[in-house]
């Protein structure tokens, strides 16, 4: 009898809805910044409190901006890969969040420092402008100072290959990313 198939039909309908709804991938637009210029900021440098790290440092070249903190277990997870990227010549700027300076410096000393420079944002005021809610998050910033991509959760080789390299190949059609040759294959 057909009436006994009604629950199954309903379930399939809900399932299709679920699948469609959830595979739309809302992380495509997690950042209102995508395609927009980076927010202006200027924060003290982690390693040298007298110097500052700010939006001026990020402009005019293709760079990564990585939000991290010593309290963030996942950051420890991605650290090795960030070091690999840095060794391949990718300029990575750090955004040190809600940390204390001593333990952050200790972290870089023991695990290695992949960052060109790290902004020290103890009370996460700068992070607010970037829409950074948690660490780790990694932004890809183009030559024109616009945000090309944002990745939430640890950086891995798979994410790098899947999301970052294709954008970089497009962005670096000319010769302005000297690191692509070395880092493209990571």
């Amino acid at each position: 009898m057909w009436k006994f198939a009604i629950p199954l039909v309903l379930l399939v309908a809900i399932g299709v809805f679920f699948y469609r709804g959830l595979s739309l991938d809302p992380s495509d637009v997690p950042s209102a910044l995508l395609g927009r210029p980076i927010p202006e900021f200027s924060l003290p440098s982690l390693t040298d409190p007298d110097r500052s790290v700010g939006s001026q440092d990020l402009k005019g070249k293709v760079v990564l901006l990585n939000a991290w903190g010593t309290w963030c277990i996942e950051c420890r997870h991605e650290h090795a890969f960030l070091l690999q990227l840095a060794r391949a010549g990718v300029p990575i700027y750090g955004f040190n969040l809600r940390d204390d300076r001593a333990s952050a410096l200790d972290w870089l000393a023991t695990l290695g420092n992949p960052y060109v420079a790290s902004a020290f944002d103890a009370d996460a005021t700068g992070a607010l402008d970037w829409g950074i809610t948690a660490a780790p998050e990694t932004f890809l910033i183009g030559r024109d100072g616009k945000v090309l991509f944002k990745h939430i959760s640890p950086m891995t080789a798979a994410v790098w290959q899947r999301d970052f390299v294709p954008i970089l190949q497009r962005e670096c059609a000319s010769t302005d990313c000297p690191f692509l040759a070395a880092a493209g294959g990571l």
Binding site: M1, F4, P7, V12, F18, Y19, L22, D25, W71, I73
Partner: protein, 655 residues
């Protein structure tokens, strides 16, 4: 090395679960006894290896093994041992392993209880439990491994979410999981009945105690969760209709419908396909609930998208279990023929109404829970289905449900004579209406129509539940009630007490936010609160400001209360530890919140009448269920024919 042993044990358990899933069902299909005979040893072996895997994870927590990623994410050396143990299920991966462990325990219990059942049937039941177990284990092994290592090993862990550092966390999830996972048992019985194509009264008698047991666990789990929110969140709420709460409530509503439907199937051999459908739906909602409660995966679509592998796995599992069950249902349910009919005025009709209203209530909750998720996913808009929506739409089916409940308890199977029923229930009805008006008017200074209606309905349920036990006590020569009947009346009394609790909490709670300096006083609901002092204190893994308050009534000191504003440095989380003074009629809650500067503190004070009735009602429901499970008829061996059973017992015996 030890975490790898846990991993290895889990893999072995997975292999045994596959054996348990495939061979007994195949054996039952082709009539091979030696294949069917594998079900029991496979289940027992699976239990042993699951227990080892779980023990290893507990050991990793207790020994602060931060080389295990899951431990590093959810524990800390400063965490009290008590909570290190509870942190085992404090996150997604660990709670999955815990789910598997609980299922293994249920399976072993089913093995022990199935000795009197035909081998063909019990091997199918165990086979289905094996399929469920193998599916969840595959998820744990391939997409949520709790034993994943972390390198380099951190010096310390990220600590357990401070909200979870509450004694409630140690007992609430196990109890809730006992219920969620327990719903797999009626599911397995239902699928086994569909596979066999036969569903008789014996089937209902085997299935019912398991369903009631799972329901008791679920009842306790939800109550503990509600109590946990009440004590730990510090805002005095006991239910907020948030997705996580709803996801435990929906299976409960389904399980409640199922155990009533089972009562009809057991007594009368009807509602068969409906019972099977409820069993499948109950387990499906339990699975959905499991994923909503403990894993970040479905809580928000954003978390889902950040880890699509897990999300797909979950959807796949849900689709496989629910879809598979419903597919079988579509193919086989028409074979389950009703063994009799019933008249319009009969216990069957009341139980049918109960079922329909409970399912509507569950659908209301489901709709309210999923709508925001879907709207966010499809339109990127944030909508919120708030408490008022739930309060209103949930009352619509449940108020009539409570009305029917009182009459249903006193109706008889097949056909009920109208006049005696009305005569019998006249006095409880009159009493309920009179007291429903009198209590709000006399005890409180204001009242509303809804309050009176709700109070009267609560009293009506209490009165009708007490009617039979009390009148049997009075007539000394009357036959004593069976445990099943007593349990039924007790649980329904619990429903009535619960309704009264909800009514008075909702109608008469008084809340006040005040700014107090040491020495200041505030007036609320006939009480006077004096802030004596605020001073810093230090806990094992937190620092806090502790406020000491005097609670006075009519100038006399009632008690001294201490509330803390805590800071957990590892997770940078602030948490209010509210002070609660409990009396049977009311609770007074004082929560020290923000430092307003210049020595003043924001303080929140609640007076909540009736909140104890709410917990008491839930407790009575659970106790009633437990009492019913111990009824003699569930411990007797199967009779040769179910027809004998139907004639051997008087038709009016309770549910």
């Amino acid at each position: 090395m030890i975490p790898e042993l846990g991993q290895f044990a889990l893999i072995l358990a997975f292999c045994l679960a596959l054996v348990q899933a495939v061979l007994p069902i195949a054996g039952a299909a082709v009539g091979k006894r030696e294949w069917m005979a594998l079900a029991r040893p496979a289940a027992a072996g699976q239990f042993v290896f699951v227990a080892i895997a779980f023990g290893v994870l507990v050991y990793a927590f207790l020994s602060d093994d931060f080389s295990v990623l899951f431990v590093a994410q959810h524990s800390n050396t400063a965490l009290p041992t008590f909570y290190k143990f509870a942190a085992t299920w404090g996150g997604h991966e660990g709670s999955l392993l815990f789910w598997i462990t609980v299922l293994a325990i249920w399976t072993v219990a089913v093995v022990a209880g199935s000795r009197s059942q035909p081998q063909e049937f019990s091997s199918r039941v165990l086979g289905v439990l094996g399929i469920v177990s193998a599916g969840i284990m595959a998820f744990a092994l391939f997409a949520s491994n709790p034993f994943t290592r972390l390198s380099p090993t951190p010096f310390n862990g990220a600590d357990l979410n401070p909200l979870l550092q509450d004694p409630g966390m140690v007992i609430h999830p196990p109890s809730l999981y006992g219920g969620y996972v327990g719903m797999a048992v009626p599911f397995a019985f239902a699928v086994a009945a569909l596979l066999t194509g036969r569903l008789d009264k014996n089937w209902a008698r085997w299935t019912r105690p398991w369903t009631v047991l799972a329901w008791v666990w679920l009842t306790c789990g939800i109550t503990l969760g509600s109590g946990w929110a009440y004590y730990e969140l510090g805002w005095g709420g006991w239910w907020a209709w948030d997705p996580v709460e709803n996801s435990s409530f929906m299976p409960w509503l389904m399980a409640t419908a199922l155990l009533h439907s089972l009562a009809v199937t057991e007594r009368r051999g009807i509602f068969k396909s409906w019972t099977v459908l409820l069993a499948i739906a109950g387990f499906s909602l339990s699975l959905l609930g499991t994923f909503l409660t403990r894993s970040p995966v479905l809580v928000s679509v954003h978390a889902f998208a950040s880890d699509p592998a897990r999300g797909m796995f979950i959807l796949g599992l849900l689709g496989f279990f629910s879809g598979g069950g419903l597919l079988l249902y579509a193919l086989r349910a028409s074979k389950l023929e009703a063994e009799g009919g019933f008249k319009l005025l009969s216990r069957e009709t009341f139980l049918l109404a109960n079922n329909i209203l409970l399912v509507i209530a569950a659908l209301v909750v489901l709709w309210g829970t999923l709508t925001p998720v879907f709207v966010d996913a499809l339109a990127h808009k944030k909508v919120s289905v708030g408490t008022p929506w739930f309060d209103l739409y949930f009352l619509l089916p449940t108020l009539p449900l409570a009305l029917f409940l009182g009459a249903g308890m006193h109706s008889t199977w097949k056909i009920t004579a109208g006049a005696p029923l009305v005569q019998r229930l006249m006095w409880p009805a009159a009493l309920a209406v009179a007291a429903g008006i009198a209590i709000p008017v006399m005890l409180f200074d204001k009242t509303s129509l809804l309050t009176i209606v709700a109070a009267a309905i609560g009293l009506w349920v209490c009165a009708t539940a007490l009617l039979e036990p009390v009148s049997r006590l009075v007539r000394r020569h009357a036959a004593p009630l069976t445990r099943a009947q007593l349990g039924m009346y007790l649980a329904h009394l619990g429903v009535g007490v619960f309704i009264l609790g909800v009514t008075f909490v909702s109608a008469y709670t008084v809340e006040k936010d005040v700014a107090l300096r040491p020495g200041d006083r505030a007036e609320i609901g006939g009480y006077e609160v004096l802030l004596r002092d605020v001073r810093p204190v230090t806990g094992p893994n937190y620092t806090a400001q502790e406020g000491e308050f005097e609670l006075r009534r009519n100038g006399r000191l009632v008690t001294v209360m201490k509330s803390q504003q805590r800071l957990y440095p590892v997770q940078q989380t602030e948490l209010t530890e509210a002070a609660i003074d409990t009396r049977i009629g009311r609770d007074v809650i004082i929560a020290l919140s923000k430092d307003l500067g210049a020595g003043a503190w924001a303080v929140r004070i609640h007076v909540k009448p009736g909140i104890r009735f709410l917990w008491l009602g839930s407790l009575l429901m659970a106790l009633g269920g437990l009492l019913a499970v111990t009824d003699r008829r569930y411990r007797q061996p199967v009779r040769a024919s179910s027809v004998v059973e139907a004639t051997a017992k008087p038709a009016a015996t309770g549910t």
